[in-house]
Symmetry: C2
Subunit: 310 residues, 2 copies
């Protein structure tokens, strides 16, 4: 299996268009130790020829242009794409808006939970991806689903499972109380398995806490790509950027007794890679103490173009 | 007035993700004479400090990153943007989808006709740009509208006028007959005027024919940025790319007796610049006979980053 990180940043990307935090100012200025990042997406292939995208970010067109493996093959038809499927982990703008880049009458499949597919059906913009050419396939939870698209079996199986999280911001129901109307299936994690070799990894770009069922599921995994939005829960407030904590946004933080570093320290995972990293996260500075503490805990900070083979 | 072409390509951009036409293969291969282009948008400013975008393309985040004038000013607040307004000329995906890149609680104004603003209201994805922070302002036709946003008067006035065209593809009503349910205001052109100097230019990225009222309006204009989608009406069919003519898509072609070159030859416009250029257009090849015929007719082929001062 080949796994490529197309985009390693959270919603807004790095730099974020309207942000003057230390990280954004530094990356715009070209300061050493700061690397620009596009928004959250992976590309996965078993054979190097046919690919599935995991989430479709608003930066998808730029990401495709930077990734020759995903280009139309000039030896094929007038219209061609190696992308045969897109799997969505939630309805966040940074995970679904990129679908509109895959227009122009090309066949592929879209996988998501019923709640996410309903959001896509409700937004007429996505009607440019017309069925039956672009079928929507509902991901059932806790059940292996083989991936295919455009008549190609990708040789990959995904198992979707609900993780603690929050419904997408633009779908929040303020009248619904503390959970803003969040339902099961609004945020999922994925176990992705090479059907032939049975090698597998986990992809969980959004998650608000690592509870016991999730910990049990991840125990002993080979590789986990995990939600690296914030280093500390209140860093956006501390930096004067936005009056929201990670908890409020549905994202766990890295550090501290309730953070992901502590939670994973007991799980014996082979390789731990943060993705979906927010522009405010001090770990984006390669020379920061935050970065050092992450790396000394055995984590990698994902970056655009990172390739992992399994 | 400063006018910057942020993106000069039609929907899909150049190269287009799934296209193996001669142009797309050549630009991916780095062949001399072929320049990559992002999707259709202009940025305009009177003072160089505050800007209006004309259309918001799916490539907007990439375009902003390449345009320092549009970066957050580090001498300002934690959150800042020089972009105070976005003016939309139709509801096409390549003109409105980029709005989602302007999230993160930043104030600016969105201008469009009632039909286009209704489409935006109907797509929940755009609710991330919440009113009252991001007000929607209806552009009345044939009436000067001063542009402002985030409490800033941009010193620019636009006059919107209906042009012959077609409703956006994903909003087509197949049961409505030959015009697919197109109504007045689905496609507009804009006259943009520096309110102080009264210098003006026209921006018409989509237009299916130059009829007498449009010709009369454009006569003697200083600068026109105009729909350069196709060179010949049937070039996509001839190249085996897509069974649609320019006429079917609501776009005039450049060449021939019914084309834009012939129509403008009698209008005495100072400077003529093609934008919204489709990947199939042979004029994208700088060494083509199509390019030579355009240039010898006095037209320029727009490119990303082109700056015009007026």
């Amino acid at each position: 299996m080949i796994i490529k990180v197309l985009g390693s940043a959270a919603g807004g990307g790095f730099p974020q268009w309207n942000c003057n935090c230390r990280n954004c100012v530094s990356v715009r200025a070209g300061t050493p130790g700061f690397k620009a990042r596009t928004q959250s997406s992976l590309a996965v292939s078993r054979d190097g020829e046919n690919w599935a995208l995991f989430n479709a970010s608003p930066d998808l067109r730029q990401q495709l242009n930077l990734t020759p493996e995903l280009w139309a093959d000039p030896k094929r038809d007038h219209r061609h794409s190696p992308i045969k499927a897109v799997v969505l982990t939630n309805g966040d703008v940074d995970h679904i808006a990129g679908l509109i880049n895959l227009r122009e009458a090309q066949a592929f499949s879209v996988y998501g939970t019923e709640r996410v597919l309903t959001t896509i059906a409700d937004n007429s913009l996505f009607h440019i991806l017309a069925e039956p050419l672009v079928p929507r396939i509902t991901l059932a939870l806790n059940k292996p689903t083989p991936l295919s698209g455009a008549g190609v079996d990708l040789g990959l199986t995904v198992e979707a499972f609900a993780v603690p999280g929050k419904v997408a911001l633009y779908l929040e129901d303020a009248s619904a109380g503390d959970d803003f109307g969040t339902q099961e299936g609004d945020t999922i994690g994925l176990k992705v398995t090479d059907t032939a070799s049975q090698h597998s990894f986990f992809y969980i770009p959004g998650c608000s806490t690592i509870d016991d069922p999730l910990g049990t599921r991840l125990k002993g995994a080979s590789i986990v790509f995990f939600d690296g939005t914030l280093f500390t829960d209140d860093e956006m407030l501390q930096q004067g950027l936005m009056p929201k904590t990670g908890t409020r946004m549905g994202h766990i933080n890295m550090s501290g007794p309730e953070g992901s570093i502590a939670a994973f320290s007991k799980l014996g995972v082979g390789r731990l890679i943060y993705v979906h990293i927010n522009n405010s996260n001090p770990a984006l500075d390669e020379n920061s103490s935050a970065r050092k503490s992450i790396e000394s805990a055995g984590w990698e900070v994902g970056y655009d173009g990172l390739e992992v083979r399994l």
